[in-house]
Symmetry: C2
Subunit: 129 residues, 2 copies
């Protein structure tokens, strides 16, 4: 029971190659476009399934922006800065105040196990225009 029978398929490999060094936080659709250059017959469903697999394996993080998922190979705890002008997402390394994350904050009886901080504003590229 419970053995994790993982098959090494070409499509899983190609999906991973398409995101593993990516810092632009691509969506499933964007990854699909790239991956089709190598595997023209790959289906969008397979891309979704493999991305999901990579997330479960802990090789990828997902976060939702608006209604769309974005994938990030940076799995260390970090936050995101989202430019309200160009919609680009930047990784930010900030650890919110310990106090915020302690169990006492919301109310007694509540336990905080994780947190997510998003920063919104204007990025350098957009400010310079």
């Amino acid at each position: 029971m419970g053995r994790d029978s993982r098959r090494r398929t070409k499509q899983l490999e190609v999906v991973w190659d398409a995101v593993k060094d990516e810092t632009s936080h691509p969506t499933a659709d964007q990854i699909y476009d790239r991956v089709r250059k190598d595997l023209p017959n790959i289906s969008l469903g397979t891309v979704y399934r493999n991305l999901q697999k990579l997330v479960v394996e802990g090789k990828l993080q997902v976060f939702t922006l608006g209604r769309t998922q974005h994938f990030d190979p940076l799995i260390e705890q970090h936050q995101h800065f989202i430019c309200q002008n160009c919609e680009r997402v930047y990784d930010v390394f900030v650890v919110p105040d310990e106090g915020i994350l302690s169990s006492s904050l919301p109310r007694e009886g509540f336990t905080v196990t994780s947190h997510q901080l998003a920063l919104y504003g204007n990025c350098k590229a957009c400010s310079e225009k």
Copy 2:
């Protein structure tokens, strides 16, 4: 030009009445269900349109959880604690460290104008079970 011709309709009033004192962060669908008790013929589209209107007016805040919007009549700056067990959302008043929100943090040239912090964990009700 540009005059804001707002009509006071029964459906807008009923939608507002259904959320104005709500602390449970209902979805459009949940609001639709409540509102139909007063106005059985109201359409889901109208509920969406009116919620949107209230958000634009600043009488309501929206935030997305998973793929679904939740509405909150608490418009003061605050954060949310989401119970990973029962999915309930609680309002939390925590101001993240000033340093985090300063413009210098992400990188030079970046300006932070707003932020959003979500806390995940187990709520009191679930912990006591």
